[in-house]
Symmetry: C2
């Protein structure tokens, strides 16, 4: 059961931080990789890789020119997160196996709605693709992702106050 | 039971989109208001207010110069979201009543950890304050926030494909 996130239409100037957040959420919430389209951004790729090197796991990031190719080549269930879709709590039980989770940028082509096996909403209110991705993965993994062991060089020991980080 | 979100250290140039996402997540996930510190950003305030006007509810946004004043004046439970804190699933059951949820920016002053009643982590991995806020509120409201009725001028009717918006 592998989870890939597909982030559409990255624009380095405008989306740098939002796309980086999306990638780090994908990793922290248990996805295996993120693929992004739009404009290639090696700086973002490096910063995501640096997190994986320090904090563990085998998360990867890759650029692809065409989202259609990513979707076409994907063998599994394609889930598109959109505020217009069916409520996550109604449909997540029907989603299993390898999953491609598609998260949009500013403008999502209409074809994406057609290409998806499921168009899924995390509330029908406008908010954030970062939050939608986190909550979708949380529902998909039933909360178990929050205690996933990444076996990293850096490791936090949860504290009621202050910061405790162990370096191995 | 009112929930206020306090967003620390907003910088209009760099944080515009991240802070806007945080505000929209606060609203969509059931908080009543967001207060932010750092640099005042009337453009961001306007864009958040426009969402409330169109999509309903009584969410508000306000600027304050001093986070210490916001925390000191708050009568209720202060929760600071940080990757170094105690796991959300262990502590959320101890949090009730009026809540101030503090989310940091790039650098969080050490005093914030002391001022909080609870330092809470949404996984001990680096990711996104937007995702942490969404998942914390989702746990706090036990998922009920996802079907909250905002009674807005615009309203989405969830669809398996495409978009259906009703304007009242």
């Amino acid at each position: 059961m592998a989870v890939t996130v597909l982030r559409l239409g990255h624009r380095p100037e405008r989306d740098k931080r939002v796309s980086t957040h999306a990638a780090l959420v994908a990793r922290a919430f248990g996805a295996d990789r993120i693929v992004y389209t739009g404009v290639r951004d090696e700086k973002m790729e490096k910063s995501v890789c640096a997190v994986s090197e320090n904090w563990g796991g085998s998360f990867s990031i890759a650029y692809e020119r065409s989202w259609k190719k990513v979707v076409r080549d994907f063998d599994g269930c394609v889930v598109h997160l959109t505020m217009y879709g069916l409520p996550v709590d109604d449909v997540v039980k029907n989603i299993s196996g390898d999953v491609l989770v598609v998260v949009g940028g500013e403008k999502v082509p209409g074809d994406v709605y057609e290409a998806a096996d499921f168009n899924v909403s995390v509330s029908s209110q406008p908010h954030s693709e970062i939050a939608a991705l986190a909550v979708f993965l949380d529902r998909f993994f039933r909360g178990s992702e929050l205690s996933k062991d990444f076996n990293g060089r850096l490791r936090i020991v949860p504290q009621p106050r202050g910061k405790k980080v162990i370096t191995e």
